[in-house]
Every structure is written in C-alpha cells, then in structure tokens.
C-alpha cells in the first residue's frame, strides 16, 4: 500500500513540472508586451527597458522557465501581480478558502442528493421515478452553470427576495452559488451511481445472495451498495476537480471572492503572473485531489490493494 502511494506521489512531480511548462509556454507566446501593460502606453522607452531588465523579461526562455520553477519550488514564490504588486501566492492563498468552501459545499450537496437518487433509480429501473430522475439528470448536465446561476438569482433574490445574490460571508449567501455549481455534479453522481448499481445488481454474487433467501434490504445494503460505490468514488473525485474549475464562472456571477474570480479579473487585466499562478494553483489542487482519490480507491477496493502487497 505504501509502495503504491509512493509511486503515485512520485508520478505527480513530472506532471506538475509539465503543467508549469505548458502554462509558462502559453503565456510566453501571448502577443503583447507585459512591460507596456504594467507601465501604460505613455511609458518612456527607457522605463520599459528598465522594467524588462528588472523582471528578467529579456532573458532567454529556458532561463526564465528555470528561474520560475526554482523560485516556485524553493521559496513558494510564483511572481508578483502586475496590477496589485503583491505576491501572487499571497493573493491565491487568501482567495483559496472561499473556492474550497464553495466546491466542498457543492460536492456535499451532489453526494447527498446524487447517490440516493442513483440507488433508487437503479432498484426501480424503468419506473416513473427512474425516468424523471434521468431526464432531470440530463437537463442538469446540459445546463450552463452561468445560466443556472442567473436563473437562481432571478428567482430567489429578485422575485422572492429570500437569498442574497452576491457575496460569500454568510451561510445564506453560500446557498445559491453552491446549488448553481452542484447541478452538474449532482447529475454526474446520479448517473454514475445508477449505472454502477445496475451492473452490480446483475452480478453473479448478488444472484447468489438472493438465492440464499436474503431479504431485499440485506441484498441492497449489505452486498450491492458497497461494490457499486467504488466507481462512484472516482467520479466524485473527478467531479471535485471540475467543480474547482466550474467555480470560476460561478464565482464571477455571484461575486464570490475566490480563486476563480481572481483568475477571470486578472485575465481581463492581462496580469500574466497572476493568471499563470492561478492556473498552476488550480491544476495542482486538481492533481492532489486526484491523488487522494486514487489512494482512497485503493483503500476501498481490496483488488487494488492486493496488487501492491
């Protein structure tokens, strides 16, 4: 088990360096001179040259990339924001709790709604409940998160005046963004639980349990559920990563002060170090979530654990 975890952690290093490289390359190729962006169009040629020299913008690509990775790994320094002049890492760390809370809350909603719906759908396949749930799940998957967010604002804050449409400081303010964000995750979890449950119900060992004369309750809760939830764990983990991403649009709509909104505003302001840092940050968080999921997966599935004994 330890060997498995060790290997997975080791594999994370080249992936993260690769991600850093891609992000760095993309923004390196971006047209437009960052020096002019920061100093404005009226800056003198000399001021621009001094800025380029100071920020190391004149260095060759590989040296700049090397410096970037070195500073990131050794000092946790991923540059300074062009617009606010504060270290990127500080701003990201300040914004991260809101994003984590938003995605965590959305994931929680998805799990407590999605898994029971998926189980009931599978047990009562082709029933009215199943059909309606599946159609709703499909609608949830097709709903753009920004549109759903606007609809929720329209209904709950403009017409009914129950919930605030922006901010993230009170519990009431967290409800709308979390629900808007969780719609896709609810649908994915429901569909996955249903199909995995359907597969398990038809397995031979379930037939054996039924043949033994066990009650339906024991069949479902004692035997089918545990096995059916194994693939659901993966989906939940993957969805968590997507939620971190979907949070970008949700955060801009509901004015949640998180990493996503920070990224969107810095894209608009062409604040490269900030964009670079935010993409790297979210990708790192995503990779760590995936790592946790893989470890958890090995833990709940004895077949994987057995491979690494």
């Amino acid at each position: 088990m330890l060997r498995y975890i060790f290997r997975r952690v080791l594999f994370l290093i080249p992936v993260l360096v690769g991600v850093a490289f891609c992000v760095f390359l993309l923004l390196y190729l971006t047209p437009g001179d960052p020096a002019k962006m920061v100093l404005g169009d009226l800056a003198t040629e000399q001021a621009i040259q001094e800025f380029r020299e100071k920020e190391g913008l004149n260095d060759p690509f590989w040296i700049r990339f090397g410096k970037y990775v070195y500073k990131a790994v050794v000092k946790g320094d991923i540059g300074r924001s062009y617009s606010s002049k504060t270290p990127v890492m500080d701003e990201l760390l300040a914004a991260f709790p809101a994003t984590i809370k938003l995605s965590g809350f959305a994931m929680f909603i998805a799990v407590i709604i999605g898994i029971p719906c998926g189980i009931i759908s599978a047990i009562k396949q082709y029933s009215i409940f199943d059909t309606v749930t599946m159609i709703f799940a499909m609608i949830g998957l097709s709903m753009p998160v920004f549109w759903l967010g606007l609809l929720l604002i329209l209904l709950f804050s403009v017409h009914l005046r129950w919930l605030p449409s922006s901010g993230f400081d009170t519990f009431k303010a967290m409800i709308l963004p979390s629900f808007a964000l969780s719609a896709q995750a609810i649908s994915m979890v429901t569909r996955m639980t249903r199909s995995s449950m359907l597969e398990v119900i038809r397995a031979d060992y379930i037939r054996t349990v039924r043949a033994k004369g066990q009650t339906e309750r024991v069949v479902i809760w004692g035997h089918a559920l545990h096995n059916a939830l194994i693939p659901v764990v993966t989906i939940v983990g993957l969805q968590f990563g997507h939620l971190l991403c979907g949070a970008m649009l949700t955060e801009s709509i509901f004015a949640v002060p998180g990493v996503g909104r920070l990224m969107v505003t810095s894209i608009m302001a062409r604040d490269y170090p900030m964009v670079q840092g935010a993409v790297l940050f979210v990708a790192t968080a995503f990779s760590f979530v995936n790592l946790l999921v893989d470890i958890l997966y090995a833990y709940v599935d004895p077949r994987i654990k057995a491979q690494y004994k």
Binding site: T30, M143, F146, C245, I253, V264
Partner: protein, 292 residues
C-alpha cells in the same frame, strides 16, 4: 460488419448506417435530439432568410422591448432583435462546436492512433504528454489557451479544440489497442497488407463507434465551453451574436429585463440537451452487445 449483414439471408438487408438509424429511431429522446439539431443546422444555414432583422441592426427607439408580434422575443440593450441574434448565433455556436471537435478529433485521433498502433517509446511519450494535459481540467486549459491567444472566433475554436485533444487521444488509442490484437488484423498482416492499409481498412472502420459517440457528446461540451469563454469575455466579441456573449451582455439588466438572458440561455441548454440525448441514443444504438 457490412459484409456480414449483406451475407445474412435471414435478415432484411440493411447497411450499417440504416441499421444504426433503425435502432436509434426507437429512442424518442434521441430522435428529439436529432430533430432539434437538424432544425438548428437549418437555422444556421438559412439565417439570412429566416432572421427578421439583421443581427447588428440597432434601433434605439425600441430598446429593452418585451416580446411582441413585431419583435417575437423582444429587443436587447441596443434595440437589436433577440430572435434574429439567436438565429445567427446558432451559426456561430454550431461552427465552434463542430470545428473544435474536428480539431480535437484530427489531432487527438492521429496521436492516439500512432500511440496505439506502434506502441513502445512513441506510445509512452505521447501518452505521458497527454497525462500532463489531463492534469489540467479541460475548462481551465481552454481558458488558459484562450487567454494566451486572445479573443476571436478562430482562437475560440482552437482553444476549445486543443483542450479536448487528450480525451480523443485516449479513446482512439484504447480502441486501436483492442483492435490491433484481433485475428482479422493478424490475417490482414499475414496476407501482406501494409501498415497504412491495415489502419485505413481495418482499424479505423472498426473503432468508429466509440469515436462517434464521443464526438457527439464532444460537440455539446465544446459549445458549452465556448459559451462559457464568451461569457467571461474570452470568446466572440460584440457585435457578433454568440449565445454566451449575449447572456453576458444581458446579465447587468437581469433585474428589470430578464428576457435578455432567458432566451440565449435556453438556446444553449436545449442545444446541449439535444446533443446529449443524441449521443446517449447513439451509444446504445452503436453497441451491438446491448440487445433489446
């Protein structure tokens, strides 16, 4: 597969396409999806004739008008007809969806096919690069690429297309790997077929099913991603009509004039829903293992 159905005398003769269509027609949801997509394609092609007004024609005397017989879905903040903009918007969304998927299919498909067919170090190299790209969530990757390229229709297509490449590479590689070991490929090799012939005549036709399904669902997610990018200002620039950009433009007036955001959002949702239904239906219809 085609030869098999033609030689089978006990069955009514149907080509593979007709067979799939026949099975697809049994799913009402999939047929709804197909009909809706065909309607959209029709709108996109004949937008010039169908739209009651030009998409950029401003009429400052008729701003924020509610739906009426003159303006069927009302007008926006510049007095432009929303219905006309939605019809022209179908053109943009479908273009982005199909071309983006085309890009990811060609790039990802070729990479996946080479990786799967030749294996060894090439496979390792390609798939490790794909692993790195997969470590970045797709939407984030699209945003990063779009931010680097700048706004615009073609950049939007490239950003959305490239961000989905790893998915296609994986699927194509997987199906190529499973087909490469089949007896009929071995037989083809035994009679002296070249690699190219094996790939073109045997591997590609037999790996189409998962790719078709993935592409249909891929068009849906490409349109959704593109709308999201336009929504945050990284896609199509005004005055060009794009559903996501229309939503984003109407957003600040939502308290007083919700129709500005309702209709574009509905258009996006119905399109994605139709493509998802169609994709699900195709998955069932193309899978010969699922007997009904």
């Amino acid at each position: 597969m085609a030869e098999y159905t033609e030689q089978n005398e006990y069955r009514k003769q149907r080509g593979p396409f007709a067979e799939v269509m026949h099975r697809l027609s049994r799913s009402p949801l999939a047929m709804f999806g197909l009909a809706f997509i065909m309607l959209l394609v029709f709108c996109a092609v004949f937008a010039n004739w169908l739209a009651p007004y030009p998409f950029a024609k401003q009429n400052l005397l008729h701003m924020f008008e509610l739906p009426s017989s003159k303006y069927l879905l009302g007008t926006d903040e510049f007095g432009r007809d929303i219905l006309s903009r939605l019809i022209y918007g179908a053109r943009v969304s479908l273009q982005v969806g199909f071309i983006a998927v085309g890009i990811s299919l060609v790039v990802g498909g070729l990479l996946g096919a080479f990786a799967g067919f030749y294996g060894g170090w090439l496979d390792n190299l390609i798939m490790r690069v794909m692993d790195v790209l997969l470590a970045v969530p797709q939407t984030l990757l699209a945003i990063a690429i779009a931010a680097a390229l700048g706004p615009g229709l073609y950049n939007l297509m490239i950003a959305v297309g490239i961000s989905a490449v790893p998915n296609y590479a994986r699927i194509v590689r997987g199906s190529v790997l499973s087909i490469r070991g089949m007896e009929y490929v071995e037989a083809a090799r035994a009679v002296g077929s070249s690699d190219l012939r094996i790939i073109l005549r045997h591997i590609i036709p037999n790996s189409m099913a998962p790719i078709i399904v993935q592409s249909t669902l891929g068009v849906a997610s490409a349109i959704l991603n593109a709308a999201g990018l336009s929504f945050i200002g990284l896609g199509i620039q005004p005055p060009n009509p794009e559903w996501g950009a229309m939503l984003s433009g109407g957003r600040q007036y939502i308290r007083d004039f919700p129709h500005l955001t309702l209709y574009p959002g509905l258009a996006i949702m119905l399109t994605i829903l139709a493509l998802n239904f169609l994709g699900d239906g195709l998955r069932d219809a193309l899978d010969p293992k699922l007997k009904r």
